[in-house]
């Protein structure tokens, strides 16, 4: 059944510092939506607002999970994850002293995910054979690319319906970036997910995105209804393509 996300007129920030102003966006069921913007424009703040890590001072955030609608503002992060919304945060935030397998099993903490644990684990190991090879290695001792894979796999262990990913390409070598983006597409299809992905790497993000939003100084500056519309947009040419 359908799962989607709607952000309506959200203001949010840190203490007295207002970062997001009147932000609205939607991610329809089954879509991959890119949230584009250079450093410091509020991509992470928006993701944190959706996840209940930053509390919006105005606006509504609604998630529809398998047909049931939930207001997210005011809920704790763990409640939001429990609804079926997984988040791969900036910096990945693995448990560095736990092994790969332990990290993955922690991903399945959500009661709804526990019955699917064997199937999800197989799927993760199939998609990321490297993780299977390193199953007993400590997460903190792995390379950046492997850590990003583990972070994605761990998020999927919670059997999510909606997946938020904050800058999957950060800190990865160019070849790994495109491979990671491909993997996200593969996971999205395998799990039938609805995806919102923040990226600075415009070219890579647009490869797999159905649509995208450009965020500038905490406001949605442009909503591109297709990858093509994004490619042809002036703002994007200015910011990303150096034209």
């Amino acid at each position: 059944m359908a799962s989607s996300l709607t952000v309506s007129n959200v203001d949010a920030g840190y203490g007295a510092v207002r970062v997001l102003e009147d932000v609205s966006l939607t991610v329809e069921a089954g879509e991959t939506v890119a949230l584009l913007g250079t450093n410091g424009n509020g991509k992470s703040t928006l993701m944190k607002s959706i996840m209940g890590i930053v509390r919006p001072s105005a606006g509504r955030i609604t998630a529809t999970i398998d047909g049931a609608s939930h207001e997210l503002v005011g809920r704790s992060t763990e409640e939001i994850v429990d609804l079926g919304i997984a988040f791969v945060p900036e910096g990945r935030r693995l448990f560095p002293k736990q092994t790969v397998t332990e990290n993955l099993l922690l991903g399945a903490y959500r009661p709804k995910a526990r019955s699917a644990i064997a199937r999800n684990l197989d799927f993760c190991f199939e998609t990321f054979p490297r993780l299977k090879e390193r199953a007993r290695q400590l997460a903190g001792s792995m390379s950046g690319g492997e850590q990003q894979m583990l972070a994605l796999a761990r998020a999927l262990m919670s059997s999510p319906r909606v997946l938020l990913i904050d800058e999957p390409s950060v800190g990865l070598a160019p070849l790994l970036v495109s491979r990671t983006i491909d993997k996200i597409k593969e996971l999205k299809e395998g799990f039938d997910l609805t995806v919102l992905m923040a990226e600075q790497n415009f070219t890579q993000a647009v490869r797999i995105a159905d649509r995208g939003y450009v965020i500038v100084h905490g406001r949605i500056a442009f909503a591109g209804e297709s990858a093509e519309a994004l490619n042809n947009n002036e703002l994007i040419r200015e910011f990303y393509l150096g034209a």
Binding site: M51, I53, S76, T77, E78, V81, D82, A86, F87, P89, R93, L94, F95, P96, K97, Q98, E102, L105, L106, G107, A108, Y109, R110, R114, L138, R154, A155, S158
Partner: protein, 291 residues
């Protein structure tokens, strides 16, 4: 068998048994300090509370101290959860835990000790049980049941907790909570609840450790202090967060102390055991099995 070899082997074996006892008194701190980063130096005082509960039930009702410990487990668990809640509300929530948190547990240590002194006085107390006194003789080997039974109970407790921590969802969350509480939220777990459960468990071990303590030796309210240094040494030596390391460290310390006491006299034991600690940490700063 040659006399001095028999002496050596008996010293090693009683060291192993002593190590089992050390593991029982250390496991609560291995959870609170090793996994939650909470410096609960009051733990030995609550072990003594466990001893006195066992003492009361034994003298007044004739109940076996180990049975008392099992019955008292839920109460200790709840007490631990309550202590954590107070600690959380007063310190941790305000990011104020390091030094003030330490003084909180110092305070708790003295309050618990003074309470025990007021109720029970400073005389040594002991318990009666069928396994206190007799020994098992296996050839040249002498196994005092007073040490063997606590050893087995302690190992049972360690293995049980280890299985819980590695096989259950709550247990795995306990092992991870100190590394990144926000990441744990992203796994749909509430870090405060997880810590409360873990702290409750660490207190529950004090019920068992207390019973074991009063089986092994008579107690008075302040002897817990003798163990504070040893307990933290064992946890650091084993490697914080590792039960298996903690057990290895406890047993090593037990054997080293027992050998030292046998061949050089008991007064050397603490110096030698802390020597072992320092040397190990110089070679392996994260402890025997620290990650």
């Amino acid at each position: 068998m040659d006399g001095s070899l028999g002496l050596l082997l008996n010293a090693v074996v009683s060291g192993l048994l002593l190590g089992g006892f050390y593991a029982a008194v250390s496991i609560g701190v291995a959870i609170s300090f090793g996994m939650l980063d909470i410096v609960n130096i009051a733990h030995p005082a609550f072990i003594l509370l466990g001893s006195y509960v066992a003492y009361l039930a034994n003298t007044l009702l004739g109940i076996d101290p180990l049975l008392t410990a099992v019955i008292a487990l839920p109460a200790f668990y709840l007490l631990g959860m309550a202590v954590y809640q107070v600690y959380y509300l007063s310190f941790e929530r305000r990011q104020d835990q390091s030094l003030r948190g330490l003084s909180f547990f110092f305070g708790l240590l003295f309050i618990a000790e003074v309470t025990l002194v007021l109720i029970f006085g400073v005389d040594y107390r002991l318990v009666q049980a069928p396994y206190i006194g007799p020994s098992l003789h296996l050839g040249w080997l002498e196994l005092p049941l007073r040490l063997l039974v606590p050893f087995l109970v302690s190992m049972l407790m360690v293995v049980g907790l280890q299985l819980f921590l590695t096989r259950s969802f709550t247990g795995r969350a306990i092992e991870a909570v100190a590394q990144d509480p926000l990441a744990l939220r992203l796994m749909a777990a509430d870090p405060t609840r997880i810590k409360r459960v873990a702290f409750g468990l660490s207190f529950a071990t004090a019920a068992i450790a207390g019973a074991i303590l009063i089986i092994i030796q008579p107690v008075e309210p302040s002897i817990g202090r003798e163990y504070i240094g040893r307990i933290f040494a064992i946890c650091v030596l084993g490697g914080l967060g590792s039960f298996s390391g903690m057990v290895i460290a406890a047993v090593t310390l037990g054997v080293v102390e027992s050998l030292t006491a046998t061949f050089f006299g008991p007064s050397w034991a603490p110096a030698v055991s802390f020597g072992v600690l320092l040397v190990t940490l110089a070679v392996r700063p994260s402890g025997i099995l620290g990650r």
